[in-house]
Each structure stands twice: as structure tokens, then as C-alpha cells.
Symmetry: D2
Subunit: 451 residues, 4 copies
């Protein structure tokens, strides 16, 4: 087995122990020579805490993997085989702003799909493109496994604009929904008895399900999970409130939605719920910040040598595990069927050929081989196309710093009010993110001058 | 010149005098043997009043055209050459409901694109499909010129589901915007010096403009009309409030919007404006109802022998004129460039091949020959695709009476709140339109039972 | 394990022993209650011979599978789980005519892609559509596994025109080429170390290859197999002469061709070679007829209890094995990656959405899930599109019996001379196939009248 | 009226008098300040002869247009408004080789679609790209009107690779066919009573026809012109032999073919005909060379002050007239419907979005606005797609000098035999064109070394 070097950018993240656990769990398929955890000056303390835990975990597992903690990204990238990106530009405080400023204006923030997601893209995309430039020089054969959000847009920027084809973007939502199907059908996931096929965009995908006999059971699962007549309640994602959909509407879709569709299909209820949380300072970002503080306290404990149970509450469960699985699937050419962000190339016939989609794929040693999905019915098609167009504009604005295009992205986002309200929100968020948006510097200066 | 028979369904409309005037103005290109004005029992009085005026107008023009007033649609259709449809199922009271019920729920009604437009489609499409069935038997070679709203959806239903290929759908908005370009450039419209090219959907289209030298002046017109720095104020459509767009955003479009885009790009301001009108009972429908009452008073005057000036205020100006021009262009194979609703067939590359679009076309004796538009940039593409998908679902629900699909159409409409609010609105509107929606009879009965 | 009923139409074929062997080999994944071998009156003797051998093979394997020989297709189909079709309308004599008549006119016959293939489609498609009608009544849940040639066109007719979605079309060529890749790389096929991805049409596909490390080795295999500088000679298909390609040209393709491309890329050499065989009465059909006669002599031997080695020479090797593998993959939801004929749905972006393609797919219990291939470069794209158009016309002519369309199919086939020569060939072949082409009866009568 | 400068590259062509006549005929729509006729050293004598005639023609017409004869292309291009290109690299001797070498190998040469056309593209495209580079510096606002053959490929190269969007490619074939429709229907062309709509590629297009009443009369014209039962014989193009099509086949097309389709649909007969001409030294190139010699003798006559009648025999009739009409249509924004080579952008849905097609368009001051054609039926679609793919490869090989791609273009051309024969022909033609193909210099040297 070939020894490999892995570099994790944003290594000081509270997720890291799950990643480490994921690697350890796959020790038979994975032989790590070096694992570099990279962070920036502001994240140094967290890096040391989480890095310490990582070392203890590896040691406790009896492995000789070398863990290196560093603030020197370039040093880390040299000769890497896999680079994983889980960074958060501006840390959780930026996420708090992403969520709270829009809510102050009576709009959903939402760190991936709403105004918050657009700003997370604005902050993150230029950094990822920088990393790619480093990789071109320092590790030209490495795979980039991105799970920095908004994962779909970041992956599209990296592949289309950065030109780094060896990129796979990840998300934990499909995994959660595949597990849910097994739960509903009262089957063991390990049986692999269900065929669950996903397609769409990151945080904006749908799925169909077949049983072992080849019968499509999408409708049956729809009914069991979502019908008001259903007796059992199934839990979706931690980070999305489980407010019921309008059953008549989602039944008409003919395919199963994901949690995030609540932001679109029952936007009104979701916004009310979020505004209540806003009042109580319980937006997701604020909750996560508190959870993280607790986690880091735990991580500091020199006797802790495994991932603490509490991490599961954090929201990103399965994320790191998915990343580990992608890595071993590439490394060992496992051709495992996973849901990843990769180039469309016609897999979803309705979307641009060269855009990035989230799709059930075989993960091979040469990358993701997406299954063909075909066309969506108009009850999904239009909405999906608009979401992709919004993503395209967000990426363009993130790269160019063009204010008109940024405003256009806002105007195309269904979670943002249309008109002056959008512009006022955009302006306030630009100023609030000043430190992280050099591409918008001129406009921000102009806005500050006006204020 | 061949003598032709024209049948106007909804002949009792207040628009009819403009139509008559349009025919008279084109007497050199048009020789009418018979003009049948058809209406239903409820419209009988209006039909007699407006029919009387029509007869006086034709007589005053010294023409021998025979005007027939009838409630017998089938009798009228026999051997027709052209059938124009300008009917309003449920009369203006239905429009008042279309606008006021959504506003009561805090949403835009809007009789073409909002919840009101969806319900107008629900009421109108089955009637048009009935007319087409009659035409198949009674006038199999006739052209159908539709200007019943929502014109795009009605035209799509008639062509795709009714199978009546010889259909052209019309709208007066592009004409208004072409005139505006001439006004901005201080040119006579009759000079034909501008090349104005439109594409999109009904009440959802964009245009580009070139001058006589071949320079694209889209950006210059954009600036003159919409820039806050512009000194002059230009008037859009009568029936859409002239609240300013966000200039930075529409400038980014690169092509010129139409009035109706205000409902999407500055939805917030438009809704507030509309809610004020709602309070004052000045919604468009209510204003039009009063205007119409006045018009019919005028029409009654036996000395009136021409279209009264006041009709211009009514909102549909140029509508009937466009219909007349389409008729003479078909009749005389004029190949005039006009903006019509016709089959896409690739003219707008982003939209389904067989859908109906609104597009600059040559109107020939064998129908509309659309100019090729190509692809839209993502700043328009996604929104346009979603609008078309919403139209498709509305048409499907209008034909099948499927409640889930109707709800889906609501959920896909950007002017409607998402979630329970949408469903409550749908339910209330279904019940309120009970008389005109036999296809939804079962569901309405169920809803009434619940209430 | 569920017991299943399999029906093989054309059961008297010399291939049947391979099929039986394939089933026996998979006894752990397959439990057969009944296997019906169906043939027609003319094939009765062969059916009895081969059926006898089949029974002996099953018995020798210690299996209790019931083998039924019958001329009553409807009786056989009742309650079937899988129907395999390997019939040859007109038997080998028809194939001899398919090959020799065109050669007489100086053109390639070729029983799948040339004039011969078009006539095989004309004879076979109506029979398959008949079978499908029977299946609708007698075994509405059965899977149809077709390997009657031309497999792609037959599959397209069955799915698009017959409406039988549960159909998979098969061919042995891709298997042969996958094996060749392993041979070239000196790897065990069982290692699964290569990822070989195919796309195109039946007998008209290309493939790319990656090694276990994820490197694309398409170019390396191209060089080893086809470069004039290469030392080793690799064998292609039995039934296609191994005349060398022009290396400069196929290298430019960037993807690997299949044997049948010789008919297109080196048509001249292939025709000369075929004309020599024609002179010596050694066309493929004639050789096969002799081989078959020998095989049936062997099959008669009551001591023979296994597939004789000589069958391998017959040409269809791996065909029946592929069919067996598809059946167990469906039955056990194995999701095995196989190359099958199935609906495109965007997998090859250049071809019509609803056409049938030959593509690497996962074979699941609900059918084939094709991998996304994307667009071909223009050096393949145009040729592939023309071939599909030719197939479409052939299918249409096969169903309607339209002479103009049949002639058009001829004119679109690159292996047929264009002009009067094509028409004369078509006419002669129509008359020669009179007995099997009821759909063309009127035209044939007219042609006979003229003669 | 704005005074304009026109530059004609290849000004010494025998066509030039027709061009001059065309300009003079349009004196009311066109005010020329300067007309520069540009040629190269080898064409100097012809330039002087034809230039002299041009001057006499303009003078005789009483016009003050300045005619300048020059070998200095860059001087000529300065400040040009329109540049027309009618050059022939290698003069008629190159065309003779283009036609005779393939015929020697038993293949059709054909200077636009066959091997000859591919070589004409190889010689011409680099020169046109050079001209475009000059234009970028010297006349950045000029329109390029190309009628150098193969017009479609040259136009595609100039627009896609040269980036000169203000280009219109021309051909005289559609004009000839439009005239034929009027002739068949016994109507005056000036009546404009027919609507003739063309789409396809240069020398590879189809058309449909409607009468003044809007009835499609495509089938009627098909029957009158092509049915063996038709009494009258209609003449096609001068330069294509009028051998009859197979009526059953072209009737099945449903749309009308052009002369050049004979090379594809009755290739066999055309080749025989051409081989006879080859034997008699009467290939088109040889005939034209003799015609030209006679023409230049006539042109020398100082008393000749108008286009001599004999020019009509030359083959390019209407070509120059079309160019003149395009120029005045652009200049005066006439929006005349003409058939031109321009960007597809979806007008023909089956072909790549950015390729060049030949299509009925409005010629406006900002360029060609193509009518939407839509999809072709499979009986045309596949062949058209293959032709475009062949064009793409030819253009790529012309620009890069890649031998494999050139060979591929040969292999994709239906008029060229497939296999070694193609390669031998390619090699011989490369060497024979050595002087004009610097991009292939290395390969030619290699071939010469081998010989």
C-alpha cells in the first residue's frame, strides 16, 4: 500500500477529530505517512488544542502516522497527495453576521443558500483559488477534497475558474437522507438493499429510491416520512428545523426533497422560526459557537484520546467521514457509489454542461463518474435552473468583485426580498465583511463614505 | 382582395371599439365580409352597447362590412377566417377577486403573473380549448389570434394541448417599449430607424436596441430611462406603477427589462404600493371596472361614431391594434416584424423546444417566423426558466384540475409566499372561483366541507 | 432465493449451449424453476437437438431445472420472469443473402451495419414488436434481454415503439475489448484493475481506459495495439477481419475504436477483403453455416453433456454469457458495471435524449443505470450522429414499410453506394426477402410486376 | 448618404466586373468614395486588365468613384468600411489540382465539399486569418464580406478563431434556388410572392417554400422539378451536372435539396460523370480556366465598358450581386431577407451553438439576424451533423497543420474513400500544395523524404 501525505486546511476546526477518527477507522485501506493540519494565525490556539487531540487519537490507535501542525500552508502543501479544505474565513463570528444581519432585515440568512451563503462564497472562493495556485506549484498531482461551504459553489469556482479538475466537493446531507431511507424501510444500512439515487445542487437535491426487487419505493417513503397521516416522526438534519412541508405539494414532486428545501417550499414558516431564534440569540451560528467552545474545552483534556460524543451535535456529522471515504475510494479505486459535487457533463440534462452538480457517482481512482440522471419535470426543473444561475452569478461576483453582479445574485435568490431591501442588506453585509473582501474594497470604501 | 370573415369572442369587451378602429384604419389591406361579435348571456347588455357603437363606426367610415352580434358561438364560428379571443371568464369581478384576495393575504395578486394570473389561466384555458374544439369542426382553416390573458399560457395551452397550430398570441407591452425607445432617442417611430429585438415570455421579456448605423444602444437607453442621474422621466405601462428599479441591478442585466419585471426585481416596493391601493379600493381591477362603466356610458351615446379618447386610459392600448396588424400581416403576407407569442423551436436556446415564447418575429401568411435570439446570460436565464416551469405547471393544473400541481404552481411563483400561506390562499381562491372551475369541483367541494 | 422462469426465443440456436453453460456457472446466484426454449416450425429439428443437449447439461450439473421445448410461444411466455431473444428470422440463409447480394453489387453486406443489417432490422423488428405484444398480456413484469441483431436498433424499436421499458440489449463486442485491454496491460481480468468505459451505439462504440492509479492509459493501449511500430499483434473479433487501421487517424480520435469501425475507417480494404471471400464462398454467413452444421452434428451426440469447445469459433462468444450475467445482476441487484443497450437520457450529450445507446452502466434490479459520458469531440461526434439517424430511419421503415424511408436509410448508410446503385440493391433485397417482409408487400409486388 | 471605402481582396478575379456592375446598379443606395482592388504579385496582370475595365465601367456610368489598383493590402485596408474577399490562393491551377488529383485516385475532387474543398480550406483559411489580423489594426470597424470558398468553413474560421464577428459569408446557390422556385411557380421574382426559407451549411442546405396564401408548396415544387413524371426540365447550377436524383428518396426528405446534394445522394453517378470529364480534361476547373482566359481577352478591349454577357457562364453568377446586396442592406439597414453564412446561436437546433451555418436571415446594419429553423428530421439531421463535424476538423487542421486531424477530416468526408486510399490521396495533395501550406511544412518534408 502506497504511503500518502494528507494536508487539511482549516485543521484547527472542531470537525478535525471526526476526520481523524475516519482515517483511523479506515487504517486497512489507508497508510498515511504525514498528516498536516494547517491553520492561520487567528486559529493557532484552536489548532494546537485539536492537533493535540489528533496526535493522542493516532497514538492510541497504535499508528505511526506523523501529525504536523503548521501555519505555513505552502510548506504543508509540498508533495501532498490529498488536500482537504474545511476552512471558515472569518471564523464563526462571520457566520453569526451572515445569519443575524439578514434576520435584522427580516430575511433568512442561511449560511449556504441565503444571503449568508452568498457572503460565505464571497469570502471563501478567493481563498480557495489561492490554494489552488499554490497546489499548481507545490503538489500538481494532488486531489482536492473540499468541504468548505457553500460546497457546490466553491467546487465550481475551483474547477471552472481555478482549472483544478482533480477536485471533489462534499456534503453530508445526502448521507443523512440515505440513512433515513433505511430507517424508514427498517433495513440495515450495511445490507445495501436500497438503491438511493440523488441529483441536484449542493443543499438543493432530490432523490429516488428502489428496493432490492427493483420496485421504486420513492412514493412509499414520501408517504411514511411526510404524510400528516403518518404515525412516526423522522428526524432530518440537526441544523434545519423540522417544520412540516405541505404534503400535497411535495407529493406532487414525485421525488424526495432534502431538509434545505424547507427554505424554499415553506419559506414563510422557516423565516418565522428563524426570527424567533434571532430574538433569543439562538441562530445556528450562535448555538454552534457555544457548542464549539464546549468542544474545545473537552479537546483540551489530555486524557481524551477519541472523538467525544458531543461532536455529533455540532451539525457536520458524516461530513468528515464522507471525506475519508472519498479519499480511500480514490486511493483504492473502490468505485463506491457516493454523492459528490462534480462536473455535470450532461448527467442532469437541464443544467449547463460545465457546471458543478451534486450527484450519485462512482468514486474511482480517476475521479467521480456520475450516473446519468436525465431531465427533471418542470415542477423541479425551473427552480433548479434558477438556483444554478444564482450560484453562477455569486461565483462571478466573488471573483470579480463586481457590485452589480453581486446585487443581481441577491435579486435572484428566493430567500432575499426584492428591491431596495436587497440593496440595503447587500451594502450592510459588504461593510460588515470589509476585512475579508478585498475584491470589493472600492465599493466598500464608497459605501463607508456615504455612511 | 379576398373577403374575410372575422369572429371576435368576448365581443362585448370595452376594447372592441379599438379593434373596430384598427380594422377601419387598415381598410386598404383588409376587406371584411362579416364581423361577428360573440359574447355570453351575462355579457349581452355590454355586447349590444358596444356592438351598436361598432356598427356606427363602420357605417361612418362608409364601409359595407356586416357586423353581427350573437350569443351563439358555434353559429358565429362557421367558416371564419380569423377568430380573435378577448374574453374574460367571470368578468371584471373575477379580476377583482384575483387581485384582492391575495392582497388580503399580504401577497401580490397581479392578473397575469401572480396568484391572480394563475387563476385567470385556470378559468380561461378550458374555455379556449373548448373554442378550439368548435373551430376544428366549424372553421378548420381559421387563424386564432388570442389576446385573452395570461396570453402566453393560454397560447401554449391552445397550441400544445389543443393542437391548434394556427395560433398567434398577442400582448401590448412590447409595442409600448418599442415606442419608448423611439421617444428616448427622439426619433419618429414611423422612421423605423431603430431595430428593437424582444425575447422572453409574456409579461416577462427583455429587449435590445440598435440604431440605424448598427450600433447597439441598449446601454444608452438603459441609462437615459433608468439611471437616477437621468433628468427625464419616462412613463412605462398604465397598469404598472412606475416605481424605480435598482439601477445597479438592471444595468448588470445588459438588456432592457419590461414594466412587469418590477414585480420581480422590486417586489417589495411593488407589494407595498399595491397594498395601499388595496386599502383605498384602487386596485387595477377596481379602477378598470369604474373606467369601463364610464366607457359604456359613453358608448351608449348614439351620436358617438368613433373610439372615444378615454379608452386609452383603459390599459390595453395597442392590444387591439396589434391584433389588427397581425391579421393584415397574415392576410397580405406582409412579413412585418412584430412581437408575438409563438412556438420556441430553439429561438431562445435556454427554454424547452416546444414551449411558447414571446419573440420578435416576421408575421407571414403561414404564421410567425421568429428571429433567433440565442442564449440568455445567467443573470436572466435562471429566472426565465423558472417562470416557464411555473407556466407549464399552471397549464397542466388548469387542464387536469390536479390540486397538487396547482399548489406546486403556487410554490414556484416568486410573487407568492411559500408554505402554508400559499396553500391557504390557493384554497380560498379555489372556493371563490367555484363557478368557473369545474375541473377542480371535487377539491372545492372538499374544501367547502372542511370550512 | 426466488425461483424464476426463463424463456428463450430462438431456443434452437447453436448459441443455446453457451447460454445453458452460463446459467449453470451462476447456479449460486440463480434458481431456475423452468427454462423454456421456443422456436418456430422451421427450427423444430434444431430445437430438438440443442434442447436435448441442454437437458443433458443441466442433468449432468445435478440441477433440477425443468427444460421445456416448444413451438408455442404464447404458452411459453405465461408468467415468465426473463425473456431472452436470440432469434434469426429467415435463418442463416437470410444472412447469406444479406451478405452476398450487396457484395454482388460491389458493396459491403455486413449483417449489422451495412445493407444486410438494415434488412435484418426489417425482418426482426416486427417480430420483436409482436413478442412484446404477447408479453404485455402474458408476463407483464418480465425483463426482455435482447441479443437478436442488430441489437441496438431492435432494442430501440422495442423500447420506443413497443413501449417495453424493461428491456436490455446486449452485444459481445465490448466484453471482447475489455478483455483485450487486460491482455495488453498483462493483467488478470479478475483483478478488475482497469476501468474501461464504453459509449456509442451497437457495433459503433469507443472506449477509454484508466489504470488502478487513476492514470488514463487510453493512448498507451492505442499505441500498443495499433501502432505499426508495435511488436505484438492483438486479435480483435472473430467475425471481423483484422486489417490494420490507419494509425495516424485512429490516434487522432483520442479514444479506442472497436472492430466494426474498420467498416468505416478502412472501408476500402474491408470491401476488397470481403469481395475475395465472396468469390470463395467464404462470407461470414457461409462460414457460420458450415460451422453450425458441424456443431449440430456434435450436439446430437447423446454422450455430450457440456458446451463443446468448437462453439467458440462460432463468433458469438461471450454473448450468452453476457446475457446470463445481466440476468443475475438484475435478479440480485448486483449493480455490476456492464456495457448494455439502454435509453440515452443524456448520457451521451450529442445524441437524441430518447434514443438507445450502448453504454457502460450499472445493472441493477430496476434496470440499467448508465454512467455519464458527455460530449464526443467532432472527430467522432458527426459520424456517430449520422449512424444514429440511419438507425432511426431503418427502424421507421421496418415498422411502416415505407419505401422512401427505406431508400433514405440506404442513402444514409456509409457502406452503401449512393444513387441508382442503392435503389437497385434495395429493390433486389426486398424481393429476395419477400417472405419475411409483410410490411413491404405492396412495394415488393410492384417490383415483381416490373421485373 | 455616408461615403464609404470598399476593399476587394482578390480584385483581379474575373468576377470583379459583376461586382462593379452590382455596385453601379445600386448607385442610389451606395455612395463609394474609394474602391480598392487588391491582388498579389502573381495576379498583377489580371488585376490591371480587370481594373481597367472596372474604371471604364464606373466612368461610363458617370460616377466619381475612385478605383485604386494595388498589391499593397495593408495600404488598401486603412480605414475601409467594407472588405470583400474573393481570393483564390494558388489561382486556378490549384483548383485544377484539387479536382484532378482525387479523380486520378478514383474519387471526387469537388472544390468545396470533397478533398478539393478540404485543400482549398487549408490554403485559404490561414490567409483570411492574416487579413483579419491586418483589419484589427487598420480598419477595426469594417465589415468582412467573404465569398472565398469554401465559404462556410472560411467564415467559421474567421469568426470563431479570428474573432472577427462582423463577418458575413456568401454563396450564390440559394439565390439560384429561390429563382428556380419562382420559375416553377411561373411567378415574377420581383413579386416576392413566395416565402423561401433555407437552412443548412454552405453547399449543403435545404429549403421550404410557401405561397402568398400561406400554403406550404414544398412538395408541389419537389414534384414539378424532380418527379420523373414531370414534363418540364429545370436547370440547377452551371457548375453541377444535372443528373437526376432518386425521386423516391428526395421526396422522403420533405424539404428541397440543392445541387450539391447530388454529390451525396447520387455520388456514384456524379463520380462517373466527373471521371469522364477528367479523361477529356473538362473538369470544372479546366473549363473555368479556359473561360477565364477568354474573359480576360474580352476585358482587355478598351471599348468594353460593361460586364460582358459571357461572364454568366463562369459559374459564380449572382455571387457578386449577392455581395453588393449585403453591403447595401448593411449600409442602409434594409433588413432584407437573404441567405448568408452566420453564427448559428440555436437557429438550427441540431448543430453546435457557435458554429457557422447558411441560413435565411434579415441583413441589418448590425449584421445578420437569422430566422429560427428548428430541428431537422433524422433523414437530414445525421448527415448535416457529420458534414459540420467534417468542417470543424478541416478548420482545425487548416489552422494547426496537424496531420492526424487532416487525415481524420478526410476520413469523415463521404466523398473520399476510406482507408489507405484516403491517406495516399492526402499525402499526394499535401506535397502538390507544398507552396501554399506552410502549416504542414514538417509533414510535407517528411513525405518528400519518403518518396
Amino acid at each position: 500500500m502506497r504511503k500518502i501525505k494528507i494536508v487539511t486546511i482549516g485543521g484547527g476546526s472542531s470537525y478535525t477529530p471526526e476526520l481523524i477518527e475516519g482515517f483511523i477507522k479506515r487504517r486497512d485501506e489507508l497508510d498515511i505517512s504525514e498528516l498536516w493540519l494547517v491553520d492561520i494565525e487567528e486559529g493557532k490556539e484552536k489548532l494546537e488544542i485539536v492537533g493535540g487531540l489528533a496526535k493522542r487519537m493516532v497514538e492510541a490507535a497504535g499508528l505511526d502516522w506523523k501529525i504536523v501542525l503548521t501555519l505555513d500552508r505552502q510548506e504543508a502543501l509540498k508533495g501532498a497527495d490529498f488536500v482537504t479544505t474545511q476552512l471558515r474565513v472569518g471564523l464563526l463570528d462571520a457566520r453569526i453576521r451572515d445569519e443575524r444581519i439578514p434576520l435584522k432585515h427580516g430575511m433568512m440568512g442561511q449560511e449556504t443558500n441565503g444571503a449568508g451563503g452568498i457572503f460565505k462564497a464571497f469570502r471563501t472562493i478567493p481563498v480557495l483559488l489561492d490554494i489552488v495556485e499554490d497546489m499548481k506549484r507545490l503538489c500538481p498531482n494532488a486531489w482536492l477534497i473540499n468541504f468548505a461551504n457553500p460546497s457546490g459553489m466553491v467546487t465550481e469556482a475551483v474547477i471552472k475558474y481555478g482549472g483544478w479538475k482533480k477536485t471533489i466537493g462534499l456534503c453530508n446531507v445526502p448521507i443523512r437522507y440515505e440513512k433515513l431511507c433505511y430507517e424508514v424501510e427498517e433495513l440495515e444500512e450495511s445490507s445495501g438493499d436500497l438503491f438511493v439515487k440523488f441529483a441536484g445542487l449542493n443543499h438543493f437535491h432530490w432523490h429516488r429510491v428502489w428496493d432490492k426487487e427493483g420496485n421504486e419505493i420513492t412514493g412509499r417513503i414520501m408517504e411514511k416520512v411526510y404524510s400528516p397521516a403518518s404515525k412516526k416522526v423522522y428526524k432530518g438534519m440537526n441544523n434545519v428545523s423540522d417544520i412540516p412541508f405541505c404534503y400535497d405539494q411535495i407529493k406532487d414532486l414525485g421525488v424526495l426533497p432534502c431538509s434545505y428545501h424547507r427554505y424554499y417550499y415553506i419559506a414563510d414558516e422557516m423565516l418565522k422560526d428563524e426570527l424567533e431564534k434571532y430574538e433569543k440569540h439562538e441562530t445556528r451560528a450562535e448555538v454552534v459557537k457555544r457548542t464549539e467552545a464546549e468542544l474545545f474545552e473537552l479537546y483540551k483534556n489530555p486524557d481524551l484520546k477519541e472523538k467525544p460524543e458531543q461532536l455529533t451535535k455540532r451539525g457536520g456529522t458524516y461530513y468528515s467521514d464522507a471525506a475519508c471515504e472519498v479519499i480511500v475510494s480514490i486511493l483504492n479505486d473502490k468505485r463506491k457509489m457516493m454523492v459528490v459535487n462534480t462536473e455535470n457533463r450532461g448527467a442532469i440534462a437541464d443544467l449547463p454542461y460545465d457546471c458543478i452538480i451534486e450527484i450519485s457517482s462512482l468514486v474511482t481512482s480517476h475521479g467521480a463518474e456520475p450516473l446519468t440522471w436525465g431531465k427533471f419535470h418542470s415542477n423541479i426543473r425551473g427552480m433548479l435552473q434558477q438556483q444554478k444561475a444564482m450560484e453562477e452569478m455569486t461565483i462571478q461576483a466573488a471573483i470579480t468583485g463586481d457590485y452589480g453582479r453581486a446585487l443581481q445574485a441577491f435579486m435572484s435568490n428566493p430567500l432575499i426580498k426584492k428591491g431596495k431591501a436587497a440593496q440595503e442588506l447587500l451594502d450592510e453585509m459588504l461593510v460588515a465583511n470589509k476585512k475579508y473582501l478585498p475584491q470589493f474594497a472600492d465599493k466598500i470604501r464608497e459605501l463607508e463614505g456615504e455612511a
